[in-house]
Amino acid sequence: MAESPARRSGVPIEVRGLRKRYRSTPAVDDLSFTVEPGKVTGFVGPNGAGKSTTMRIILGLDAPDAGTALVGGRPYRTLERPLRTVGALLDASAVHPGRSARNHLRWLAHSNAIPRRRVDEVLDLAGLASVGRRAVGGFSLGMRQRLGIAAALLGDPAVVIFDEPVNGLDLEGIQWIRGLLRSLAGDGRAVLVSSHLMSELQDSADHLLVIGRGRLLADTSVRDLVATASGDRVAVRTGMRVEAMTTLAGAGAPTAITDDETVTVSGLPVERVVDLLTRGGVSFTGVSAHRATLEEAYMELTRDAVEFSSGDDGRPGR
Amino acid sequence: MSGRPGFGRLLLSELTKLYSVRRWSIALLAAPVLTVLAGLLVAASSAPGSPDTTVAGPDGGWVRDRFHFVHRPLTGDGSLTVRVASSALELTVPEADGGAARAREVERTVWAKTGLMLKDGLRPGARYAAVMLVPGHGVRLQSNFTGDIAGPAAGAPAWLRLTRTGSAIAAFQSTDGTAWTRVGTVTIADLPPTVEVGPFVASPTGTAVVQRQFGSLRESRYPTSTRAVFERPALEPVAGPGSGGSPDGWRDDEVNDEATAPDAPGPPPNAPADKRPQSGPPPAAWTGDRLTLIGFGDIAPRPAPQDLVKNSLTGTYAGLLAIVAVAVLFVTSEYRRGMIRTTFAASPGRGRVLIAKAAVIGATAFVLGLVAGAVTLLLTRPILLRHGYAAPVYPDWTLTDPVVLRAVAGTAAVLAATAVFALALGAVLRRAAGAVATVLMLIVLPQLLAGALPSTAGQWLIRLTPPAGFSVQQTVPRYEQAPQLCMPENGCVYDQPWAGFAVIAVYALASTAAAVWLVRRRDA
């Protein structure tokens, strides 16, 4: 950012006991978390898990049935010039198609008494300087996404909230977003960014909030999430499957026969498996270790929480 | 294009789209509700007024029956012949209203009648058959008020003959008294053995629009009189003295429905001249076998002053607007959300998609219109009866009367055509606000503007815009022999009810064709 302040005094997002139902469907169910300044917090969960609803509640667009969502200790709706505290991109297509990108940013700037030059700065930043005078209706999804990000950064906010920012972006755009997220956090801003794909976040997020069916499933760092996943598995190729199982089960590890020649054991490191089998006199033709990826850890966490196998990440119940 | 889904599938998918949006369903259901509520409001706030007469014809319909009649009884079969030597209409239009120039225009609305009458007594509304000369309309054989058979295009002088054979009355016309042409034969049921026959003259009131204030209109009426000269009236068989050309045995009466209306309140004494009943005509004058007769009044069916079915269905406007909004959104919302790409990807025949949409919204509107119309009429009839709308001025009706069925089905058809028009316009403009506003203004504004424009311009404005469709709601019959001014203010757009529907149908077809052409050409 052109005029990024040096380390800012941090403004956190604090969500406590949030509940929201749309008709009879709970969208958010007793959600509590904190988004710390200076970090990129990834907000992941399957489609319909309640990510967008949570973000809408933080921004005061939807009212929670219970609980609070505070930005810097205050409800969003009490902020005098909110764009200077919080910049958000919720729905990139929610722009009047007949207005030019520049005019869209200009009215936003006026509403929060933001100096006019910021409009050109953020247009530049988002790589839209050359199309600023074109009507948004003709923009591709990626360009709208960039416009939404430019709008979010207009007020040089201490808190940034992006809902699925990489949707529709090309590879270059995705890399741009990743760099942007890191640099925003590096400035000391609190960055909350959602995705339904863990892979989009694993390289850029410092912290992860995993949500499924409106409930918080994990509030953890990326490294811990991988570690707490059900663990590494070791596959043993052997003709003596029953003996192998008995031996390994004796060490307290869950085992399973996965095919004619393979026994899978989880929770034990490879070295220990080899040691146990050798000592137990079980012959084997091969041992292969399988490290759980973040993606698998996430899939396991959210296995029961997948509401829609496919479809739009719309707000549930609408 | 292989594996193209059947059109039935397409219809089904569009139907699902329409019914699965909750607020559209609500709006669609609001359409009949609004229609019924507005109909009830109209019924509850309607008053029949006090008609000047309540004379009913043989079939129970409201009629005018006033003429000057020189007559004598005829028992059994027989015939009456007369020569009409001349017939002259007298009509004065005040200079203020346009004078002589306007008089010619008014004359065209006057069916002055000079001829022979055979009537079941002198009671107004009684059965009759009559052969007559009507200036501008030739020889006519009219009977029981609504019957009208056109004969040769002759005028005075001419010979006329009326022959009774049982219940059959035949009429003849001749230019010389020897070679006769049959005008026609009518059967008058329940005719007693003895009837009154003789020459008659009737001369109705002419009408014209003379004044149009901004937003209001005055229909001016001009009483006329007709002076006719008859020669050599001859009755066969001869009954009593002087049945040939002499005054003996002929009686001179004016049949006058206005005079005999039972305790009719009568217009106030200070009523305008055209509302006051004309006093009777001078008595018939005989000069030898020449009879000079001056007549006022008319023998004709009278339309009900208010078209109760059409008025009850006025709420269709409110319902129509709801349907228009949904029809427009049904297509524009797809453009707005980019869903049209999904739709077109799912069924690449874009024109077919649009036609499927049109079929679905049209059918929906039609069904809603049927329900709305039928329910409205079922509910308003008892209210109107309670408010004193009664026969003969307001004939009772049921839903199964052909004209009422036509009004209900026609209303539904107008709703369907308008919905299709709205949908097509939505596809052309791709903007909900613009399309809804355009369609609604086309429906509503002509009504308001018509009164503001000069008479003919206003009439054509309504005739050529969608509101013309509502002329299918007309149920008061119109008769050629009882001309009425057809003005938007009278609720009259076209004399033919379905003609108006044709207008809106053209709008629907043309806009659909344009929309199909455009969606094929344009990028989605």
Partner: protein, 264 residues
């Protein structure tokens, strides 16, 4: 202070979509055009019977407002309906989270542009009336009626018409805020304004005619245009405009409540 910024933002928003200038231009053109057509047609009338030509010349000259208001309705509905249509209401509320403030800002800007366009329409209409009516038979039949907008009661009819258009705009705006749908709100407003006159054309009971005339927003509000025969009105000009004011206030309040308490 923030309200001023919100108003500034709404003004920018309104003037940066192409539909706004077109709608305003069309509103002025329709108002002036139809008023001029009406006065020109009336002015060409022969009046052999002066009694039949008694008319309210100022009201006649302002006829176009009845039609120009349709475009005002569309503009007013778009001001908030398009926010829901494009879902940009979320962006607007994120920028101005005080909902009454956003609502007020939009109302202020809307009222301003409608009043400006309405004034142009009224001035143009009265100029047309002054061009077409004096010296005609109709003018002679209605002596003593001035068309000068500087004196009562024509002055009242003139600025009353501007107020009328502004109130129609606010009524439409409130309805759109409740319905959150452009097409639905336009349809509702046009029914509300124009169906009453169609109904009264078939209603025959004079008590009901009076009732509808006093309550229907258009017929009540347009009483402000009356300059003669005031005692023949079913309610006084200001009472009539007041009725429209109540309609607008009710709709505005309902819209505010919907905005305040429903999720965006």
């Amino acid at each position: 202070m923030s309200t001023v910024h919100a108003i500034h933002a709404e003004w920018t928003k309104l003037r940066t979509v192409a539909s706004t200038p077109w709608l305003l231009l069309a509103a002025v053109a329709v108002t002036v055009g139809i008023s001029a057509a009406a006065t020109a047609a009336a002015g060409s009338r022969a009046c052999p019977d002066p009694a039949a030509c008694l008319d309210d010349l100022a009201r006649l000259g302002l006829t176009g407002a009845q039609y120009g208001q349709a475009l005002v309705v569309v503009l007013a509905v778009l001001v908030i309906g398009e926010e829901y249509g494009t879902r940009s209401i979320g962006v607007s509320l994120a920028a101005v989270p005080g909902r009454w403030r956003l609502y007020l800002a939009k109302a202020v800007v809307l009222t301003g542009v409608v009043a400006a366009a309405g004034s142009l329409g009224v001035i143009g209409s009265l100029l047309a009336a002054r061009h077409f009516l004096p010296g005609t038979a109709l003018g002679a039949a209605n002596p003593g009626q001035s068309l000068s907008p500087t004196a009562e009661p024509v002055l009242r009819a003139a600025y009353g018409t501007v107020l009328y258009l502004a109130l129609v705009a606010l009524l439409s705006y409130g309805v759109a805020a409740v319905l959150r749908d452009t097409a639905g709100a336009i349809a509702t407003m046009l029914v509300l304004l124009y169906v009453a006159p169609i109904l009264t054309s078939v209603v025959t009971d004079p008590r009901w005619l009076r009732r509808i005339d006093r309550i229907a927003p258009m017929s009540a509000g347009l009483k402000i245009q009356a300059t003669t025969a005031l005692d023949s009105l079913t309610s006084s000009p200001w009472q009539g405009l007041g009725v429209l004011g109540l309609w607008a206030a009710g709709a505005l309040l309902a819209g505010l409540l919907a905005l305040q308490f429903r999720d965006a």
